[in-house]
């Protein structure tokens, strides 16, 4: 029977004589409320919109609406040489540009089947781990900020600056690095840079403790992260989660350990794994990973081998610049590589790399031309958003912010 309009507006509490404890529940108005969160919400880390179906403060359904930052990066790849796509990868997960470069270069190298000189592998690993530290610092600062703990943000950003300056010195840019090259890296470490890194390795562990001091005893932090965004190991695997989001649920899966690429096999480190699958465990894993990364950087710096930083494969890798001026063969290579690019054999390849946010994969189809026929990016943020509805269901509206953050989501790679 249709209620008169006035009745609908008035909240009437009916008391069920059988179950008086249910008295507080509204019995008349059971309408769900739809709430658009984003795309301009500060905690949505860019331009994510979530359509929340709410029952009071509780989330009944959360539908992420993506694509506000879609730039057609995969299509852009089809219009340039393999080499030209590297700067575009910078803009995927712009927090961890180096890792995107790394993942892409690894995929292309696998496609053309070239091996990298050992020094380049070491440098790549060191820089990738520094980038992971930056990513986790950034996550920690912003996640705490989103939840309400503002102080940590300044501390993490202070230390992140040191590393960004390091990148600036290394490759000339702080965020859009483009330092990796197909077949190696653009530029070797200078002694000053190595010295700088050594100092950082000693400097940073107490700082991690500092961050932890702020958070680990803070009851607001604890209550807002513990037991929030819980997902079981089975579900996490079914949803295809990866990285700290997966390991928080107790799944010991890390590509760096399982398929040790680059120089990961050559240093001693361990994979931190959580138990409860909640945001707190993921926080703990990320903090722990920073420590592990430092450990790796320290070891790799000790063992850093000498040698070239760029493979020398004719017709694929760029010739050294000084030879271009004098040697016709190098000149021809330079011109062919920059104008037409190298031509990988026909075929397709998938190569996954453990980035700070999870498994970042590149799937490349080559038709034997100088440009990729198709390039697909398996972006962890995008895959993680698939589990968002499942993980947000039943939580309060204020937890949505935590749940976004728990994936370490970056819209650049999510929307691509």
């Amino acid at each position: 029977m249709k209620q008169p309009l006035e009745d609908q507006r008035t909240t009437v509490y009916k008391v069920d004589p059988e179950h008086p404890e249910n008295r507080a529940l509204p019995t008349l108005r059971t309408e769900e409320m739809m709430l658009n969160m984003g795309p301009q919400h500060p905690s949505t880390h860019g331009v994510l919109k979530v359509v929340l179906a709410l029952e009071g403060e509780r989330i009944v359904k959360a539908t992420p609406v993506m694509g506000y930052l879609h730039r057609g990066v995969e299509k852009l790849a089809e219009d340039g040489t393999y080499h030209q796509f590297i700067p575009h990868t910078d803009r995927l997960d712009y927090i961890c540009a180096m890792y995107n470069n790394f993942a892409y270069c690894r995929a292309v190298e696998k496609l053309v089947g070239i091996t990298i000189p050992p020094r380049a592998e070491y440098l790549r690993t060191i820089v990738a781990e520094i980038q992971r530290i930056i990513g986790h610092q950034f996550w920690l600062g912003t996640q705490a900020l989103d939840i309400g703990a503002m102080t940590v943000f300044f501390y993490t950003f202070r230390d992140r600056e040191i590393l960004l300056d390091f990148f600036d010195e290394l490759c000339g840019a702080r965020l859009t690095t483009s330092w990796y090259r197909i077949g190696g890296v653009e530029r070797d470490f200078t002694p000053e840079l190595i010295e700088k890194l050594r100092r950082f390795v000693d400097y940073f562990p107490p700082k991690i403790d500092e961050y932890v001091t702020f958070l680990e005893t803070n009851r607001i932090w604890l209550s807002r992260t513990k037991g929030v965004a819980v997902i079981s190991a089975e579900d996490a695997i079914s949803f295809g989660l990866s990285g700290p989001t997966l390991r928080g649920s107790g799944v010991d899966y890390d590509l760096r350990k399982f398929e040790p690429y680059a120089a990961y096999g050559e240093c001693d480190w361990s994979v931190p794994v959580g138990k409860n699958g909640d945001t707190y465990d993921r926080y703990w894993i990320r903090v722990e990973e920073m420590r592990q990364s430092l450990k790796m950087v320290k070891q790799l710096l000790e063992k850093l081998p000498d040698g070239p930083v760029m493979a020398s494969v004719p017709s694929i890798t760029l010739p050294p610049k000084d030879k271009v001026f004098n040697d016709l063969a190098s000149m021809i290579q330079q011109f062919k590589l920059f104008s037409e690019g190298f031509k990988p054999p026909k075929g397709e390849i998938y190569c996954g790399t453990e980035a700070a946010k999870g498994e970042l994969g590149f799937y490349i189809v080559s038709n034997g031309e100088g440009k990729p026929y198709r390039l697909k990016i398996r972006a962890p943020s995008f895959i993680h958003m698939g589990a968002f509805d499942y993980m947000a269901k039943g939580y309060m509206i204020a937890d949505v912010v935590t749940i976004f953050g728990t994936y370490d989501i970056v819209m650049g790679e999510c929307d691509r």
């Binding site: 004719p314 004098n326 040697d327 016709l328 063969a329 021809i332 011109f335 062919k336 104008s339």
Partner: protein, 903 residues
Amino acid sequence: MALKPVTTPDAEAPSIELSIDGQPVQSKAGVSLYDVISQTGKIIPAMCYHYTFDPFGSCGMCLVMVEGKKAPVRSCTAKAEAGMVVRCEGDDLHAARKKAVEKHLTIHPLDCPVCDADGHCELQDMAFQHGVQNLVNAKPKGLPEDRRSLVLDINMNRCILCGECINICKDVQMVDALQFFKKEGTTHVVAKGDVGLYCEFDGDCLAVCPVGAITNKYSKYVYKPWQLKKTTSTCAYCADGCQIHLETSGRDVQRITSPLSWKNKWGDRAETAKGHGGLCVRGRFGFQYIDSKERLGMPLLRTDDGLVPKSWYETMEVVVERLSAIKAAHGPNAIAGLITARCTNEELYLFQKLMRAVIGTNQLDSSARYGHLNFTRAMQKAVGIGRMMNSYEDITKAKTLLLIGTDITETNPITSLRVKEAIRVYGAQVIVAHPTLTNIAKLASHPLPIAPAGEAAFIQALVKAVVEQDLVDEAAVGAAPEAFAALKHAVAGLSWDTVTNQVGASKEAILEAARMYAESPRAIILCGEGVVRRADGYTAVLNLVDLAWVTGKLNKPGCGINAIPEEVNEQGAVDMGVAPELLPGQSSYADEEARAKFARVWDVSLPDAQPATSANLMEILDRCRRGAIKALYVVGENPLATLPSGTRVKEALEKLDLLICQDPFLTETAQLAHVVLSASTFAEKNGTFTDLQGRVNRVREALDLFEEARPDWEIFVALGQALGARMDYDSPQAVQSEIMKLLPGYYNLGEPRPVQAHPESYLSQGYAQDVGARYALRGDTAPAGSFSLMLGQVLYHSGKLSTRASGLIKLYPNKGHLKMHPDDLARLQIGEHDAVRVTSGRGSVEMKAEADPDLAVGTCFFPEHFNQPPVKDLTECVTDPVTSVPSFKLTRVTIEKLKGTRA
């Protein structure tokens, strides 16, 4: 056994089997092993190979291992033998090929940044593919660049001496302008005689040069391949229908290329019979008019201050208002239209629809009136085919070619290549009947110099010779005995004395030509402007039909009669019915049924076919002069500059109330116009051209529109709609689909349509009555001491359009010199610097004279593209009694040396 492998595609050699990479392959014995391998789809690098000419074997890249041989062999110069076991891949071969590339690279300069071939360079590709590294002992040659030529720079530092340029010039073009030349210890490629290259400039050498040794001066250093947008279109100069690639950046055409390139080297040798994909000098180097500064960017409107640029809105308002006023005041027959055959088929169709269905007049004509209509109308009447009967392949594989009155290498260079290939590869006998010693005559087996204007007489003589020598085909004449009897009677009336006198050739030569033609199983007639652009062109073509008919060659495969149209879409203009006597699809306008069909589709009533409502070019000009026509719509035509002043065009145009010109340029006619509408060139619009073979070729938009200029079809649509008609075409495709409905099967993109001649009704109805009149020769003889002034086309130009292309003007500027035979010059004692006065009944002109030994004694030549000094005005314009084709390219003049002139 010959030293070189056999390359003739039809070689009659035993079939053999050999094994390539383990696969059994069938082949002919003695052909190049490289050809056999490339037929299997395998690509072996070879820098000196191209399928259009014989293997040369200089680059040393096409190495393969043949079982039983210790070292790799060059597959291009090796002959395929039965039971050969060949291996094309392997590390050893890769290394050997790499060595071969390195050999070329060690003497190559470090030139990539400035080289025009960079990015389109086979040497680069080879070095890159084979992973060449470290050329420590590189020693560039350090030679100066040969910049003596007007178009092509030859840089011997970059040359790899592959000989492709020399081979294509010699074998395909048969021009043979280049050669190897040893100078100071190094081999050079130079023009014959080590002078600045001045040749036909077809640019095939440029196209096949795998490195940057031959570069194009017109686009030197201005592009790299990655900057260019490539649009495939059809060349808009002559009717050969060459596919061109317009390579543009922004609104500039940087260069024009064609399918011929070192990149397309793996073709089937037999395929060259259909064309080798190259271009001529006009197509390749004559693109500058598209970007010309003289282009009209805005419509112009005549005010008191002369022609003033105005917006389209204002201009069209004036046009519509005045056209409507004239139509209302004087009726639709006060309006007439002329269009150039350089427009696309869609535009031609729209134009005739606009004139007939919207304005309601049948007073319209196209530039096909200048000659091609003579051919199509005669052929249509006699055999029911309104176009050329043969395809390129037929021409190439002909046994006998009869070229009458056509300087084919100049007017249609790419069609001439088919004739050249027929000579070179298939050993055809070629008879060239032309007053001058043309380039094709120099190559022909039977050059037959005839008197100026002797073409028509020559055809009559051939018919007479065939009939009298009893070379007739019994089956063909047996089918129409009455007609043959009439013909026999008609030719009997000709006396050999008159004939030989008129033809200017001996009886023996004529008889031999007739015998060769009649007895050949594949005999093709190609005629040109010497036949169709004459006042008796219509009957001359009918006489040609007689010749083919009595020798039984009308429906024989590989035989036929062909005329070569000059402008790109003359065939299309005829097919689209842009002539008062034709409807689209070449049906007669007088045919009530056909007219009713179009009237139904267009939903209008068409003007009837009365002489009062129909007018062709000459009649339109006449009516303008008489004041019957008040408004003339001229699209791309330029009658003022084309026709001699004797036709009083200027007077006719000045009498008009409204002269609308639609042209990309401000032509002489447009300068008189009341309104000038700025139109586009072919590079800025979509559409189709119909080439001489009847193939419909796509024209694609390569550039954005020039300023405010609009494509012609858009202007027609706008005008039609403003005049109140329903013309809602949004693109040329919409017009196309209408044409497709009306003329099913017209858009046969690609292959020429096969044709079937049907002379039966022609021979049975009225033939016997008319034939007598056709075999009558005028007995007039040239007055002593007079010269035949011939206006003709030169290779470097096509119509007036090419004179706007700076590249072609640079190659062939108007020097204003009259060409004469050296003997005549000597006889008249005319020196190098002396001026002459050329006098005809129309007046006289003073200019310099220069020697051209190819001309016959008693003739002189001036290029028709220029009218400075106004040589054209000396000529008399005669019109064909049937088709009204104006003929004005030949006249009698006297030449005298001017005293005391030393300019």
